[in-house]
Symmetry: C2
Subunit: 352 residues, 2 copies
């Protein structure tokens, strides 16, 4: 081995969810939206001028930040955008978590948190969820270098009530609190209004789920001007131009179609609640998800075996071979047709 | 000030080149290509399906890596792609530069190198260019934790000959050597063939200059499988999906039009050489650029004053108020028309 190989950073390799290709498969494994983006996105795409790509995109991403600001009734200086919420969250870790105290987050949660902490040499402490996968707000009060959790949580789908989130923020005046609201639009209550009350609260959202644009990589953070300015300073020092021009323009279009957005969400929520009902009939149990997925287990079925059986039928869901999670499957809410295919298979599998 | 504000990372704010809007202005300040991307990009854009954006992009970016691999006659496993070469270079710093010895690069060079080193806490040493802005290859032999330099260099445009670059690589068997070839297509000679001979050589290129796609943010690195695999492991651990679907597909189209690419480069090189001739006639001096810009100075003219005078006329160039650079302007090679506008102004300014 050459000397230079000793100085390579070697993180634990992460394997993303499969992206199998093919028209026939039922893809319920990466929490994508089963419906296409707003028709306004298609229209804008059709009239987009490729010649404009020769120039760098607007580094301030103003078309997107202005549109989001109008949509949420906040000031553009309170919005920071990035290449998916992963980019925004990683940037937030890098910007805000420099206390000698450990950053805290749940032990069962989005799998990238510990990875980013390791990467940026940020000390962290994972706080166990209870047996019902619930967060106890008191566990997060003070004595930390920062707080981060998804709401609803992943991969459980459980929502922490607005008041509990506010209590966590209010009891951490010395830390930045990041609430990762990737799944909030599917029936949860956003704590966005609290950014006007607490300067240390950062709310992160994404276009990948509710806005049907995972393929365009758009995420954003909302918070006080202090927080957003700090994020921008770090981002500009690191890479001036991250969002490409197409993402900026198409993202802005998606935000300007609230009616389509609402209809899409309503359809997914309706499908989710119907899925809960027949899943329960089949003997599955699950936390009461407020997200676009269910985290299900069954007393008579081995989750790993069911995962493989589903895959053979071209039905892709997510299985986590980890402590506390290995008897569960995470199933994205697809179209009614996709859920009917799943239901039909499970009926046969369960011998009903 | 609240306690949490003490733990914010506060890098020196970086101010990117201006992106003024407007049709009339002559924009020669950010080294963009004056010509649009290949017509194949426009065609692909017209038939792109917005519905596909609901899904995550292919994390392996295979459509783009395969197309680039074919174009360069190398294996897809030797290519790593990212959100512009800034993203690729930052990821390479993070991946390869973990030696206790300092990474070395020229004192006058791409301004992001020291920023990334600071961000990732990488020790570095800047090696002064000589008075003609030349790199002396011997200065880079060994005793370092890594080597990085642009070829041609920025903002001078000077190319280090192929043999000298090889000597630097050959004399650094214990370090990763990164050659940043952002401007190589404008008449320079790429050291790409050397990646088959030296496992520790990484060649970085971009779509932002020669391929007229700064707005889409596409960069790539080419090297041994060992280097590329290490980059991929770090990238996947950090963010699985960085390139959006539109960038992957449109980038692949651009690569598949070598004739258009060649024609565009030939036009820019011709304009550059013509610009050199009349600039010389006007009394300007400059390093003999192999890039799509000139780095010019004039014995009778204050560069800062000329910069402001040009700006008033809506002609944007780049001025660096830094030691050794403050008597120069960096002028991007635009269309023949744009250069004629510049020439006309300079003629009046110089009273000729």
């Amino acid at each position: 081995m050459s000397q230079w190989e000793n100085y390579i950073l070697r993180p634990e390799p992460y394997v993303p969810g499969e992206q199998p290709a093919g028209e026939k498969l039922v893809k319920l494994n990466t929490n994508e939206n089963p419906y296409p983006p707003s028709p306004k996105v298609t229209l804008r795409l059709e009239t987009m001028d490729a010649a404009a790509f020769r120039k760098y995109p607007d580094p301030s991403a103003s078309i997107l930040t202005k549109t989001l600001a109008e949509n949420y009734g906040i000031d553009p200086s309170q919005i920071f955008v990035g290449v998916g919420s992963d980019d925004v969250l990683a940037m937030a870790f890098l910007t805000f978590f420099h206390s000698p105290e450990p950053v805290v987050f749940p032990d069962i949660t989005y799998s990238f948190y510990p990875v980013w902490a390791d990467l940026f040499q940020i000390p962290y402490r994972q706080i166990p969820l209870d047996e019902q996968f619930c967060i106890h707000k008191e566990d997060y009060y003070g004595n930390n270098g920062g707080v981060v959790f998804p709401n609803p949580n992943a991969p459980t789908g459980l929502e922490l009530p607005f008041e509990d989130v506010e209590d966590i923020v209010a009891n951490n005046p010395d830390s930045v609190v990041i609430v990762d609201e990737a799944y909030i639009d599917f029936g949860g209550v956003s704590v966005l209004p609290l950014i006007q009350k607490y300067e240390n609260l950062l709310v992160v959202q994404t276009f990948s789920k509710s806005r049907s644009m995972a393929g365009m990589r758009i995420g954003y953070a909302m918070g006080s001007r202090k927080l957003i300015e700090a994020l921008e300073n770090v981002k500009y020092s690191f890479n001036s131009y991250t969002m490409n021009q197409a993402a900026l323009e198409l993202g802005a279009e998606a935000v300007q179609d609230p009616e389509y957005f609402r209809n899409t969400l309503d359809k997914i929520i309706k499908t989710r609640e119907e899925t809960k009902a027949w899943m329960r009939d089949f003997g599955f149990t699950f936390p009461d998800s407020k997200a676009n997925f269910l985290f299900v287990t069954h007393p008579q079925i081995d989750a790993a075996e069911l995962f493989e059986a589903l895959k053979k039928e071209q039905i892709y869901v997510r299985y986590f071979p980890k402590p506390r999670l290995s008897s569960y499957l995470r199933i994205t809410i697809g179209t009614d047709y996709e859920m009917a295919v799943l239901r039909g298979f499970l009926k046969r599998y369960l011998g009903r």
